[in-house]
Symmetry: C2
Subunit: 504 residues, 2 copies
């Protein structure tokens, strides 16, 4: 077989695997947004079957033989070319996926299927004991999973991180997070002693239909179009895509406030990243944006750096006033901007402001390391959790629903995921600063509702590459260096100073 024929064969197989996976994503999207409740059982079978075949086809000997046969060809390619990247990424994923025995994979899937509803029940009753056996089982399975990579020479937690951020090292993450703690913990204390921000006008009655209209108006300005996107309501907002031209956002509306704006713009950030990938990479592993850090950098960038900025509200606040004249007609723009940037320690991560958010993540990151270093037993997690909440945010956790049971991640067996949220936030400010240097008119563009230059810059520098580079390489290409806490800290300090008149 010629190189050309091998490559064609590889592309065809990978294309079909991609089709099965994206079909699975649609089934999942449908389950969250459309499916009647009693469809659950049939859907679980369908998703398991799609996952099984996609996995079996991918880890097959045939893929390995094609990759082997392409080694010579690959050696002669420009390593930065899409073709070289395709072979390299496929080989990496193939070697990684084959190390996990099908039985363990099956057990992990079953544990997830059972763990998530058990967690949902336990959270409702704030009953950690009910969830504990599932948590213990997940940890046990993850230990066995880590053992599959014993010959990699990587630490247990590095192996967990790698599933969400290829090549991430615990020590690098720790260095960034430790630096954040040095500034953020005292900053939170300073804010606590400052004059509180008035947000009374931001609570009231905001009909969902109007919020939906306004949310759409915002993201249409940012780059959403019904030609290639959908936006639907759901309980837990998320974004997914069936293809580069089929992007599905979901958001959550509460009649009591306008938080939906930030859910919607957050998910828009995920969506625009997927939508911006070079169409030539479609149906290959190079459209699988597996760096949760880079993904999160875009959701946080559009949610926070864009939609919580002064220039953004210079353009949009008159529109929101027009839509809700009774509640916001008399509110000054500055007061509104302060209200959407209020800093206040709270129990729930997904409701946290930009300053306190990081501490929620650092807490989880530290606990996960303790667990997999064998120093923290599952049953002792709640106590450790509550101690850290007191230390970092000064809060006494009232019950487990407001503490250790709040997130779904561990219930689904995801350990090592949380740090990507904060790393992504750190990266978002590095990317923002770099973009601002290239686009000196950024603020005035935003003030006039013009987001195209910004979207195009991000598309050109980042989105279009898909997975052609490793996450570290990609960050290096965009910002010229590795993770750096300083731009993020400077951004937080400056915002806190503007609103609360304090800094550290």
């Amino acid at each position: 077989m010629s190189h050309g024929a091998r490559l064609k064969e590889l592309r065809e197989r990978l294309g079909e695997i991609h089709d099965l996976r994206r079909a699975g994503w649609l089934l999942s999207w449908d389950q969250m947004t459309m499916m009647p409740p009693k469809g659950t059982e049939g859907r679980a079978h369908q998703m398991a079957t799609l996952d099984k075949f996609a996995h079996e086809l991918f880890v097959s000997e045939e893929i390995g033989q094609l990759l082997d046969g392409l080694s010579d060809h690959e050696a002669g390619l420009d390593p930065e070319s899409a073709e070289a990247a395709l072979i390299r990424v496929t080989r990496r994923d193939w070697e990684k996926a084959r190390k996990v025995p099908p039985e363990l994979r099956g057990e992990m899937t079953r544990a997830e299927v059972l763990g998530v509803p058990a967690w949902a029940e336990a959270r409702k009753d704030s009953d950690f004991e009910a969830f504990l056996p599932h948590l213990e089982h997940h940890i046990e399975l993850k230990r066995r999973y880590i053992e599959c990579y014993a010959d990699s020479g990587r630490s247990a937690y590095d192996i967990l991180l790698d599933d969400y951020q290829e090549g991430a090292r615990t020590e690098d993450v720790t260095r960034v997070f430790d630096r954040l703690k040095e500034v953020v913990i005292p900053l939170i204390r300073e804010v606590a002693s400052a004059e509180p921000v008035d947000t009374s006008f931001a609570h009231g009655h905001f009909p969902v239909e109007k919020q939906e209209l306004f949310g759409r108006e915002i993201i249409e300005r940012l780059g959403y179009s019904s030609e290639s996107w959908r936006l639907d309501p759901t309980v837990h907002p998320f974004a997914t895509s069936m293809s580069i031209n089929d992007i599905r956002l979901t958001t959550r509306y509460s009649e009591a406030d306008l938080e939906s704006i930030f859910h919607t713009s957050h998910e828009f950030g995920h969506g625009i990243y997927e939508h911006g990938i070079d169409p030539a990479l479609e149906r290959t592993p190079l459209v699988e944006l597996n760096s949760m850090v880079l993904h999160e950098s875009q959701s946080r960038l559009w949610e926070n750096l864009v939609c919580r900025s002064r220039p953004f509200w210079r353009y949009f606040f008159p529109k929101v006033q027009e839509l809700f004249p009774d509640q916001l007609g008399d509110v000054p723009e500055e007061a509104w901007w302060r209200s959407v940037n209020k800093v206040e320690p709270s129990f729930i991560r997904v409701e946290a402001d930009e300053v306190t958010y990081g501490m929620h993540i650092i807490l989880r990151f530290e606990l996960e390391q303790e667990i997999f270093a064998g120093r923290l037993a599952a049953r002792d997690i709640p106590e450790a959790w509550n101690v850290k909440m007191k230390e970092y945010l000064g809060l006494d956790v009232p019950d487990h629903a407001h503490g250790v049971l709040q997130d779904v991640h561990w219930a689904g067996g995801s350990f090592g995921y949380f740090p990507t949220y904060l790393l992504g936030t750190v990266a978002s400010v590095q990317i923002w600063e770099r973009m601002r240097a290239d686009l000196p008119d950024l603020d005035s563009q935003m003030e006039s509702g013009e987001f195209t230059p910004m979207r195009e810059w991000l598309g050109e520098q980042m989105y279009r590459w898909g997975r052609r580079f490793t996450p570290d390489e990609m960050l290096e290409r965009i910002v010229g260096g590795p993770f750096d806490a300083e731009p993020y800290l400077a951004y937080l300090q400056s915002k806190v100073e503007a609103i609360y008149g304090v800094r550290v």
Copy 2:
């Protein structure tokens, strides 16, 4: 391997194939109802891949070996048992599917993918010449398909029919249809000479939201529940199901009239049949209701025999009056009932009334036979079509969009499908008469909005069995005999006499 182990293995494989197929159904439903327009290309790949794997897995040697190994076991089973039916149905489908070479299957799929959009364009422009090459290609491929079954001893058209109605024979269909022609053609002429029915009040402005509300109210009374069903708007109404407890109906709303009621109740009929299958048959070929005739018997039964009946409107007309008081407040119930049963020859099959509908089908059935007997070339179909329209309905076809180009079926390569619509309608009245004999209070139940006894009777007699019997056996079990045109003709005559005062 023991029989038990073989059966378990067979069930597992068939379950996975079922999962892939139903996942494909979801992708298709999503494409029609939810998908952003530019998602088409990715979706086409995903659907083709799911179809390919489901087919490959099914026609595999492994399935054949499992079936062979189960022959002895099968011989000892009660042939009416679910287990015997599973083995028998699977063997039949397997043997049938293997006769078609993958290349021909692939060509037919491609011809469908290309043919449908080409037809949509051609219909828009009423341009038969533009569609002709696709039609010729489909006919050529179907001839090759028919040759795959040359050793079956069946006629070409019998082979086509079998794809939509297992075991159907052209001569039986012809016998029923010829009898219908004897009565229906003169009946249409009689109606044409009678006093026309006033339907002016049924045309006006009926806001879609109210129609949707009312449509839901109706089908909830009939047996729809949001626990296991959805109803969404679409261009061409259809019903599908992801599982017994995940039934998806779609319907079409026009602000100008209340026709949506009949689309919705028609699709409800399809849905309730799928929903009523014994859950023990889930994820096996026995939930694949492949008799289009039996399926259509239920859509027509709920649409026509229920929703166009006097007792139905005795209950629902006051509600529709309340909802649209300006248009219908002063209309007598009897006038409304007459209006929804108006008989008038028209060009478009899907808009035809109960009396003229049959002639649209018979026309297509006769042309299809001529085509596959080699007596009618594709390019001569329009003329033959128009001649028959004149003969059967007295109409001069103004253009091909109102004639030969109106239906999607031939564009997708479906020949032999049309007769199932009329056979289903014939069967619906046979089933209805049998049910009425068992439920003497049927009319008074409907008058008081009580449809449970009826739904339960149909569930018990028909729905729960899924595909455990052949279509002929199933009809025999329900009504005690084969297709019989007389009950349907008596029903039409009686309705026409009540409304128009004529009969033949």
